[in-house]
């Protein structure tokens, strides 16, 4: 996998997912190693995403690599009108690998085609965020002991939620049964349902989940954002149906875990944090191990 960019979750095969997850498990057991000594990683965040940037930088720091970059395009030449092309061609002289977040969709793919050094996409608009998907897979496997034949509940904004779309694509390799729970306005788009139909995978659509929650192995929560609704009254009526509370989790499977890509607003009530199924903060920690695995694998040191 040396010198191969990671732009989209579909760039990796099932075997490559598993290789990354196994490597991430090694880093979890031994997170501080000097294997990136002498390497420079650039983190180019053309739009702010503090959590993702810190996670990548923590991953590199713990492996002895050095970081350069910016956390906001406001401080760069982009404000002077420099193209992405020029920024990438310049920065690739300074670093061995570029982690980039860019508001334009397909920006990371384009960068990977012109850059002499590998690109890791840390989010391109509403399109892809593959390291998030890999850390989600890692969290699922770690908590369930397997990836195959699980019931995955996706709740909230399934229309615009980039993380659920990528996770769906990745889990399609593992005979997952999907439960999509969302208001009508934010249903899973047809193209993803057709994708599952073509693979012969099962999915169910619901507007509520209290009656079926006992089937879940994983509940993956997303934010229902007010600005996605054309009708504010509709938002007020539906928002509380998609807030998870501890008393909804009474009849769930003992190993069931609640995941969330974070940041959360109000969709997971604080009383869930003390419930044994709350896993979203550990999930964020798994992000560091997964990113250590991605970077060291691409740089060929593992």
């Amino acid at each position: 996998m040396k010198s191969k960019s990671l732009v989209s979750i579909s760039d990796y095969t099932k075997e490559e997912y598993l290789k990354i997850l196994n490597l991430a498990a090694e880093f979890e057991a031994n997170p501080v190693q000097e294997i990136l000594k002498g390497f420079v990683v650039a983190t180019l965040f053309f739009e702010p995403s503090t959590r993702t940037r810190l996670s990548f930088e923590s991953a590199v720091n713990r492996l002895g690599g050095r970081i350069l970059g910016f956390s906001d395009a406001g401080t760069t030449s982009s404000t002077k009108g420099e193209t992405l092309r020029d920024t990438i061609l310049t920065v690739s002289n300074y670093a061995d690998l570029i982690v980039m977040r860019h508001p334009v969709e397909g920006g990371a793919r384009f960068a990977s085609e012109i850059s002499p050094v590998p690109i890791v996409n840390a989010g391109d608009g509403a399109n892809q965020h593959p390291s998030q998907t890999l850390l989600d897979l890692y969290s699922i496997r770690k908590t369930q002991g397997r990836l195959d034949n699980l019931n995955i509940f996706m709740i909230g904004d399934l229309k615009y939620g980039r993380t659920v779309h990528s996770l769906l694509q990745a889990l399609s390799h593992f005979n997952t049964t999907f439960y999509f729970i969302s208001p009508d306005e934010l249903k899973m788009p047809d193209e993803y349902k057709m994708f599952l139909d073509n693979l012969g995978l099962k999915y169910y659509e619901y507007k509520e989940f209290t009656d079926i929650v006992d089937k879940a192995d994983i509940i993956y929560m997303t934010r229902v954002q007010k600005e996605r609704f054309s009708d504010p009254i509709e938002y007020e009526k539906t928002k509380n149906a998609y807030v998870l509370r501890a008393n909804m989790l009474e009849n769930t499977k003992p190993k069931m875990k609640v995941l969330h890509p974070l940041p959360r607003v109000n969709e997971i009530h604080l009383d869930v944090d003390d419930h044994e199924s709350a896993y979203y903060f550990e999930q964020a920690q798994n992000g560091v191990y997964t990113r250590q695995a991605i970077i060291s694998s691409i740089l060929g040191v593992k």
């Binding site: 092309r85 334009v104 969709e105 397909g106 793919r109 399109n127």
Partner: protein, 154 residues
């Protein structure tokens, strides 16, 4: 009616006849093939009666012969088009268009947030459904379907 049609678009001695173009898409076909930039003798007729298409268009181009990969580009807008290669007033070869697996540069991505609409990047699509002409952007991964298809001016 048939006789009249042949009078409207006169025969050519050597060249290519492209028939069965949907009338609404005639100018897209002209643009895709770059016919608006060449000096050859070209005649075309449009809004002609067609049992299959309702209204069709036909183009006759003198002394131009297309390579298959060039002619397949028009499959995006005229998947039923048929070509007759004419030599000395006779049809010497008939061709049909085939929707290619990959479309480079001809169409615009429907997604305004796509890099191809923001910077000088050549568009590139995988054809994910040849029947409905559904294109998946190589960059932003969004689908552009026939209803939203915009041809980039040559």
């Amino acid at each position: 009616m048939k006789d009249k049609k042949q009078l409207v678009v006169s025969a050519i001695k050597d060249g290519t006849v492209i028939d069965h173009i949907p009338a609404n898409d005639l100018f897209k076909v002209i643009s895709i093939l770059g016919l608006d930039h060449i000096d050859n003798y070209i005649t075309f007729g449009t809004n002609l009666e067609s049992k299959k298409l309702g209204k069709k268009a036909i183009i006759k181009i003198s002394y131009v012969f297309f390579r298959n990969e060039d002619i397949n580009k028009i499959a995006l807008v005229a998947p039923d088009a048929k070509l007759n290669v004419i030599k000395d007033y006779k049809v010497v070869e008939k061709k049909v268009v085939e929707v290619p697996d990959e479309i480079i540069g001809i169409a615009r991505c429907v997604n305004p947030m796509c890099i191809t609409n923001k910077e000088n990047v050549t568009t590139k699509f995988q054809v994910v459904n040849k029947k409905t002409v559904s294109l998946e952007c190589h960059y932003c991964e969004k689908i552009t379907d026939k209803a939203n298809l915009v041809i980039i001016k040559g």
